[in-house]
């Protein structure tokens, strides 16, 4: 079971969180013309990366904040975690 550093609560076990997918996906702005391809990329198309992956988790049984987690999908190593509004450099 992963041990995730919630930027709001500290180290917590994985069973307090729920997974939320790729954190690098950006929703197209409201009221903007979006091509089919662009929309499909936003809704459906995901890379299945091996290695470092920035992903979303929600601390659902804790502070309920959505956070960003930089994790290696092959080894489960977690490098860094970020608050929802933190820019990832």
């Amino acid at each position: 079971m992963l041990y995730i550093n919630c930027p709001h609560c500290g180290m917590r076990s994985q069973n307090e969180f729920s997974y939320g997918g790729d954190a690098s996906v950006k929703r197209p702005e409201l009221n903007k013309e979006v091509s089919d391809q662009e929309w499909d990329d936003f809704v459906y198309n995901r890379k299945s990366l091996r290695g470092k992956h920035l992903e979303l988790w929600q601390h659902i049984s804790g502070c309920r904040q959505w956070i960003k987690v930089e994790r290696d999908t092959a080894t489960h190593e977690i490098f860094r975690t970020f608050k929802a509004d933190e820019e990832v450099a």
Binding site: L2, Y3, W39, I60, H76
Partner: protein, 998 residues
């Protein structure tokens, strides 16, 4: 029965407490502190089972976790547990066990014929034999294999034992309480670290219980007892025996199975049988010791052949002689230690040492005791069928290829020592890439992957002095990093006998003309010849050899067989062992009860049960409950002998004719507050929200980004910046997460706060033509007239002194209201509604009547909003704004979603107006068409229309818009029904919606 093989005194068992037990129906006696194995051996019982494939007689090979043979079926409290190792099961009064894998009995087993057919049962035998003809597989081969395979029999009864889970955190977790575990635990504890020390056996001390050493002027065992006693008094230390750490998972999470009452005849009322510990450790010290490995020779599986360390343990811990005429076969000094123990108890052993010359303190002691030692000698084969009677022995050449003249000598047991294999399982599970250590012919952990350190024999260090030194140092260092304390501890003096170099000899060659089976894996009956076949047939990778031959795949996971298997492959392939590599170690290290893994999460406990504040009233009034998500809801209120069908019809009719009340507490409720609340709703729902006035409710539909309907419900504007959102019972949690996602990640600029209030409010829906009259009586000071509280209106009221929220909303399609009060007052509200409603003939109604009412009105619910439909499919496209953007809008432009013949909700009535249509039935044009019959749609919900007194269903139908009036067939192969139906409008009752506005 007398315990003929129990020595006069000695051992650690409690001789004051005699216990009786049964094995294969026969009664025996043992002592408290025995294992089933030691008690059987004390009684001279060596035959405990039959082997997996050839049904050869099986005895005891080890004394603990490494035991490959002695697997029994255990009976306790009228329940049975399979695959119990007799070497691990502690004896208790009244224990009952039976042999497995034999029929009709362990003494006469018909399956043993396989032993004579063994030429037909080579490696890969399943793959080769049961292939053709294909049709034989299900009828013949599979049932046969299922019957032949496996050892114990799983119980078919409900397991009444209780199992618990526990989460724990610590600075240092230490696996194993031998010399290294004890010293590192002690050093860390003295530095104030939070320590958990786990020992799988009942007794602490590991090898110190059986080795002849002296630490700090005490015997090894006394020293261990002292350390444990002190550790137990320390508040920062948890010491656990009977606790096996069986898995090392990600991020230093380890799982341990603790036997809480496994050693007792009956579980105490509030004690679990086992407890599973999930332990998150900052540092893990693996001091799991080592397991002696066998030397391979002919018939080396005969009962009476066992590890020399096991023989020593039975003698020193249990006071039991495994034989009175022992032959010891060794390639190192450990065999001598066992010989010395025998000799000290008046038994004369013979030692065969494969080495030509060897001298050490231990050997000198053996010689001084007058023990008969034969150097350059080996056991060629054991003789005897159900028990060792003699051994064929021979001298062996220096290159270990040539055997001398074969002689036969009498013996009743053969104790084997082929040196030691470090127990590296946990380190390997952690991700540690192990490395081969030439000096000991075995793998040891390499570079740590997680925060694990392996110490002592598990790390290939067999000197006690060095083990203590490194273990004290490591325990102290690691804890210092965490606690910043540095208490110096004097390392005690160690007196141990020095050993000489072992012989890299592991397999006795076959003598000319002999064809003895030489087993590598004792539990799965894998012999040297099987591995040879696998290699001849081209299996090269050790992983393939393992699977083809089943070497190391049994419940003992090859604890005694792995290395010898690797030696053999390396020899045949002419590769060094590290080049062959070893198979992956996976958790669990030892078998774990399924019950322990499941814990308390069984049956009703597998998820929480939520009850409304009115639950007790429902119960008192004969409600029959149904699971709705995690909630229990009344399905109907039973009167007399009513069936579900009759009761729900009565309840629904009463709503249409008079007034009914339904508990709607379970609806999800979310408070949406803030200056941008309207803007959030406007983006989340498909319809417009910016102009909703205070005191008004609106029905809304929300989509996922892929255009599929996620949920629906009404949201009410309570005040300027405060909205009360409702969701369906099932989606409440998902909707909250959904809103939080957009507020925190996508539109953080919106100044809105959302919070679940589902449990804060109790709700009652009052529905029916007389509901307004009732409401007026409940709230005499409020104007609830059609003008004062119009459809979709909201007001606050005073319910006999309780603050209440009144919404004029309707799911039933009748004139209806929902009243909410704070949960604590829910029951008060309910009782008042029932009391005041009497004069209007009020009746409570359950979810079944609720469904009937909504279905015949054509209102959609979970069965239509099933994660596959868009607003159009549910006839909700009128709620989709063309002017503004919202979540999922862009997806609605997809061509499949705009197709002319898109599926759509319709009503379905059987032509005979009698036959109810099963939910899930498929709608087809031609009931006689060949399969696969093209499906046009499916029945999503069915009811008995109380308005028209005939069956009515809703369906999602292809091109539903143009299908009204068509005749189709509803087919349910599951219920074996074909029903001719007519397609009608989904709004079966009151299609203009006049009643809700009346």
């Amino acid at each position: 029965m007398t315990q003929a093989f129990r020595i006069g005194n000695g051992g650690l068992v409690n001789r004051d407490k005699k216990l009786s037990f049964k094995f294969n129906g026969k009664t025996y006696f043992g002592y408290e502190g025995d294992t089933l194995a030691s008690a059987l051996l004390a009684n001279g019982v060596h035959l405990v089972g039959r082997s997996f494939k050839y049904h050869r007689p099986r005895g005891f090979f080890g004394a603990g976790v490494d035991e490959p043979y002695a697997i029994v079926q255990l009976y306790r409290n009228g329940e049975t547990e399979p695959n119990i190792k007799a070497t691990e099961q502690e004896l208790f009064e009244g224990l009952e066990a039976k042999s497995v894998n034999c029929w009709p009995s362990v003494n006469f087993d018909i399956g043993a014929i396989n032993n004579f057919l063994k030429i037909f049962l080579p490696a890969g035998f399943y793959y080769k034999t049961f292939m053709w003809p294909k049709s034989f597989w299900y009828r013949l081969y599979e049932p046969f294999i299922r019957k032949a395979a496996g050892l114990g029999v799983a119980s078919t009864k409900h397991d009444n034992e209780r199992y618990e889970h526990k989460y724990e955190y610590c600075d240092l977790l230490i696996a194993g309480s031998g010399p290294s575990g004890l010293s590192s635990a002690y050093a860390a504890a003295k530095n104030g670290a939070r320590v958990i020390l786990a020992e799988d056996k009942p007794r602490f001390g590991g090898s110190l219980l059986t080795s002849d050493v002296n630490i700090g002027n005490q015997s090894g065992k006394d020293w261990a007892d002292g350390i444990i006693a002190e550790l137990k008094t320390m508040p920062n230390v948890v010491v656990k025996n009977r606790s096996q750490i069986f898995g090392y998972y990600d991020h230093n999470m380890l799982v341990m199975s603790e036997k809480v009452s496994d050693h007792l005849p009956k579980t105490k009322k509030y004690h679990p049988n086992k407890r599973l510990w999930y332990i998150r450790a900052k540092e893990v010290l693996i001091s799991s010791g080592s397991i002696e490995r066998p030397i391979v020779f002919g018939n080396n599986d005969t009962p009476g052949v066992m590890l020399s360390s096991a023989a020593k343990e039975y003698l020193k811990v249990y006071g039991v002689l495994v034989g009175k005429n022992p032959l010891i076969f060794t390639n190192n000094d450990s065999g001598y230690e066992t010989a010395i123990e025998f000799k000290k108890h008046g038994v004369d052993p013979i030692v065969l040492d494969s080495r030509k010359h060897s001298t050490s303190e231990i050997i000198d002691e053996a010689k001084n005791l007058g023990i008969n030692i034969k150097n350059s000698y080996v056991v060629v084969a054991a003789q005897g069928y159900k028990k060792v009677k003699s051994a064929e022995i021979a001298s062996i050449s220096d290159d270990k290829k040539q055997l001398g003249k074969i002689e036969s000598i009498n013996c009743d047991c053969i104790c084997v020592s082929g040196f030691w294999t470090p127990t590296i399982h946990l380190a390997s599970q952690s991700g540690n890439k192990t490395e081969f250590k030439e000096e000991i012919d075995a793998f040891i952990p390499g570079q740590s992957k997680q925060n694990e350190t392996t110490l002592g024999a598990a790390n290939g260090v067999f000197s006690l002095e060095e083990t203590l030194k490194t273990s004290f140092a490591t325990g102290s260092e690691l804890s210092k990093k965490i606690t910043e304390n540095d208490n110096e501890i004097a390392i005690p003096n160690v007196v141990e006998k020095k050993s000489s170099q072992h012989d890299k000899f592991w397999c006795v060659p076959l003598p000319k003309g002999k064809n003895y089976k030489r087993f590598l894996d004792f539990q799965n009956d894998v012999a040297v010849s099987d591995v040879e076949i696998a290699l001849r047939e081209g299996y090269r990778s050790i992983e393939h050899v393992k699977r083809y031959t089943t070497l190391g795949m049994a419940t003992d996971q090859g604890k005694t067989s792995n290395l010898n298997g690797l030696q053999l492959v390396s020899e045949i392939e002419n590769k060094v062992v590290p080049a062959v590599g070893h198979t992956t170690f996976r958790p669990p290290y030892t078998p774990v009860s399924i019950g322990a893994i499941v814990g308390r999460e069984v049956g009703k406990h597998s998820k929480p049960t939520r009850k409304s504040p009115m639950h007790l009233w429902h119960k008192k009034n004969n409600a029959v409950f149904v699971d709705a998500g995690v909630w229990l809801r009344p399905r109907y209120y039973k009167k007399g002998n009513e069936t579900l069908f009759e009761a729900s019809k009565r309840e629904a009719k009463n709503v249409r004719n008079n007034v009914g009340v339904c508990d709607v507490t379970t609806l999800g409720k979310i408070d949406v507050k803030g200056p941008d609340a309207a803007e959030l709703l406007n983006r989340v729902y498909t319809n417009a929200w910016l102009k909703l006035p205070v005191g008004k409710a609106r029905y809304g539909v929300m989509l996922r980004e892929d255009g599929i309907v996620m949920d629906d419900g009404t949201t009410t504007r309570i005040s300027e910046n405060h909205y009360h959102m409702t969701t369906t019972t099932a989606q409440a949690a998902n909707v909250l997460s959904h809103l939080e996602y957009y507020l925190q990640l996508v539109w953080p600029e919106l100044d809105v706060n959302v919070v679940s209030t589902t449990e804060q409010w109790a709700g009652a829906a009052i529905a029916g033509p007389k509901s307004r009259d009732l409401l007026q009586k409940l709230f005499p000071n409020s104007d609830v007239s059609n003008d004062g509280l119009p459809f979709m209106g909201y007001m606050e009221g005073n319910l006999f002194g309780i603050k209440a929220k009144i919404f004029r909303i309707s799911f039933s399609g009748e004139l209806a209201y929902e009243v909410n009060v704070e949960s604590d007052h829910g029951n008060f509200m309910w009782e008042k509604i029932i009391e005041v409603g009497k004069e209007f003939n009020i009746q409570p109604y359950g979810t079944e009547a609720l469904s009937t009412l909504r279905i015949e009105m054509g209102h959609v619910a979970g069965s239509e909003l099933d994660g596959r439909t868009i607003p159009y499919d549910n006839a909700l496209e009128g709620l989709v704004s063309k002017k503004k953007d919202f979540i999922g809008k862009r997806s609605l432009q997809r061509s499949a979603f705009t197709a002319e013949n898109r599926q759509r909700i319709v009503g379905v009535v059987p032509l005979d107006k009698q036959t109810s249509i099963p939910e899930g039935s498929h709608l087809v044009k031609d009931d006689k068409a060949p399969l696969p019959n093209p499906k046009l749609g499916h029945i999503s919900a069915s009811c008995w229309s109380v308005e028209y007194d005939n069956p009515f269903s809703l369906a999602i139908l292809k091109d539903g818009k143009n299908m009204i009036g068509q005749k189709l067939f509803a087919m349910s192969p599951l219920k074996n029904k074909v029903i001719p139906v007519e397609i009608v409008s989904s709004h079966y009752v009151d299609p203009k919606g006049e009643r809700v506005r009346s």
